[in-house]
């Protein structure tokens, strides 16, 4: 068990580490190291980091069950919010640099291109989770309802993978979508497995 002091210390460290990818982007921007197509670089990089943080967030519960390190749960919210933070940067890059805030044009793109439709939908679903991430909101919603709402992440993560998959399909290059899709499948399958095992153990308690 971690003391309150240790918890806040670890939180500071995670916060600083979570900002590093963005700091790196800003630094690359000033040092002219974003390559020949800076906007593509930023779009892909922020998309990648959304996915990394989604994987990290979803691995907290399985890791906690396997190691019995219950204190891990105290860092999950920050990881989830970082996933949302990079998703916001990813979406903003798309809205700003690809469409220059022309919402009509952007919506046309969203409707017409399946991979954007899916990514956009996943982003929309993500917003209520970020909004209700505070302690106050948990209280206001009540634990049960809050938990139900936050299960949306089980939909958001696969949609994110589908978005990535369809984007890469254009270039016939599936190595990364397969890797991250595999990670997400394992993380979700573990939950399903534990749930079914629990049902078998305590059928009456349903």
């Amino acid at each position: 068990m971690l003391s309150a002091r240790q918890v806040s210390l670890v939180k500071v460290v995670i916060f600083a580490l979570g900002l590093l990818p963005m700091v790196r982007l800003v630094w690359f921007g000033f040092a002219d190291r974003l390559g020949a197509n800076p906007i593509e670089f930023i779009t892909r990089n922020t998309g990648d980091w959304t996915l990394y943080f989604l994987c990290l967030t979803l691995s907290v519960t399985p890791l906690r069950r396997m190691t019995k390190w219950n204190w891990l749960i105290r860092f999950r919210r920050m990881l989830g919010l970082f996933a949302f933070f990079y998703a916001v940067l990813h979406f903003t890059t798309f809205l700003w640099f690809d469409h220059f805030f022309d919402v009509g044009e952007m919506l046309k793109d969203v409707v017409k291109r399946p991979f954007i439709t899916v990514g956009f939908f996943a982003f929309l679903l993500f917003i209520p989770l970020a909004v209700t991430s505070t302690n106050g909101m948990v209280r206001r919603l009540g634990g049960k309802r809050w938990q139900l709402l936050h299960r949306l992440i089980y939909l958001i993560a696969p949609l994110g993978i589908l978005h990535f998959w369809w984007m890469k399909a254009g270039k016939n290059d599936f190595a990364e979508p397969i890797l991250f899709g595999g990670i997400i499948v394992v993380l979700l399958a573990l939950r399903l497995y534990w749930r079914l095992a629990q049902h078998r153990r305590e059928p009456a308690l349903r």
């Binding site: 390559g35 197509n37 690809d98 291109r113 399946p114 399909a169 270039k171 016939n172």
Partner: protein, 326 residues
Amino acid sequence: MLIKRNQNGLDIPFSSEITPRAVFESRRQFVKQLAVGSIAGSALMELAAHQAFAQTAGAQKLAARVNPAYVAMDKPTAYKDVTTYNNFYEFGTDKSDPAEHSGTLKTRPWTIVIEGEIKKPMTLDIESLLRLAPLEERIYRLRCVEGWSMVIPWIGYSLSALIRKVEPTGNAKYVEFVTLADKKQMPGLRSPVLEWPYVEGLRMDEASHPLALLALGMYGEVLPNQNGAPVRVVVPWKYGFKSAKSIVKIRFTKDQPKTAWNISAPQEYGFYSNVNPDVDHPRWSQASERRIGEDGFFARKRKTLMFNGYSEVASLYTGMNLHKFF
């Protein structure tokens, strides 16, 4: 005895003597003005074109005359961007991979086998290809199917010069270009992303159009490995992937060639793949493009032009539904 030597005792120029990009670009501008205004005789033009555009240390210079008929008015893209950001799947799928992994490509000796529906099948080595027709410099726009574009000063000559030499028969309706596929030299071949070797193709009248270029160099030098050394085609009115790189075989055929991207995703990459702002790729719009290195961070993308602005090829497609034959 007077022997010109540098202080470092070698005949290698100091880095300070290598043409800085700004100077190179102002020379480009000068050459362009010469070409466009036709204010100077060809001798002067040749002089201007022969200036050293040194970019890659040790790269072989290639003398060529500017062909004023094919000088895009756009500003040429920086050499660094052209050589570090491109697709060449034989070296990996990232656009930085070709520059990083093409060092293993051996471009000398190199031969192209020319066969199929022709009267004079032959095998040409790179030296005879360099001598086959007078080398010209042409500044072309290049539009990638992914939505970005560049402007590149190529060196080469019209593919039609080669076609005439091998005397196609009446059966020759298409030309097929086959890229080298050697696992030892090309690490990307280990990945099954495309069917290897990479094959591209053109209809005979497209291949014979004077704009279709057989390129052996760019920026005053031989082609860098990552840009398709030692010999490639450049078809500026089509998306970049139609311009096959590092060619080892050219076949003249009766039937339409089965081309690499068309095999892998026929609904996304048609045989023709003419640049066309009205026909979207299923995953993204083709109405606009981002000019690499020029359109600033906060600039809107520029409108893509029909046939990439090369309207002189429109007559090749009269009566064809370009939405169907995309």
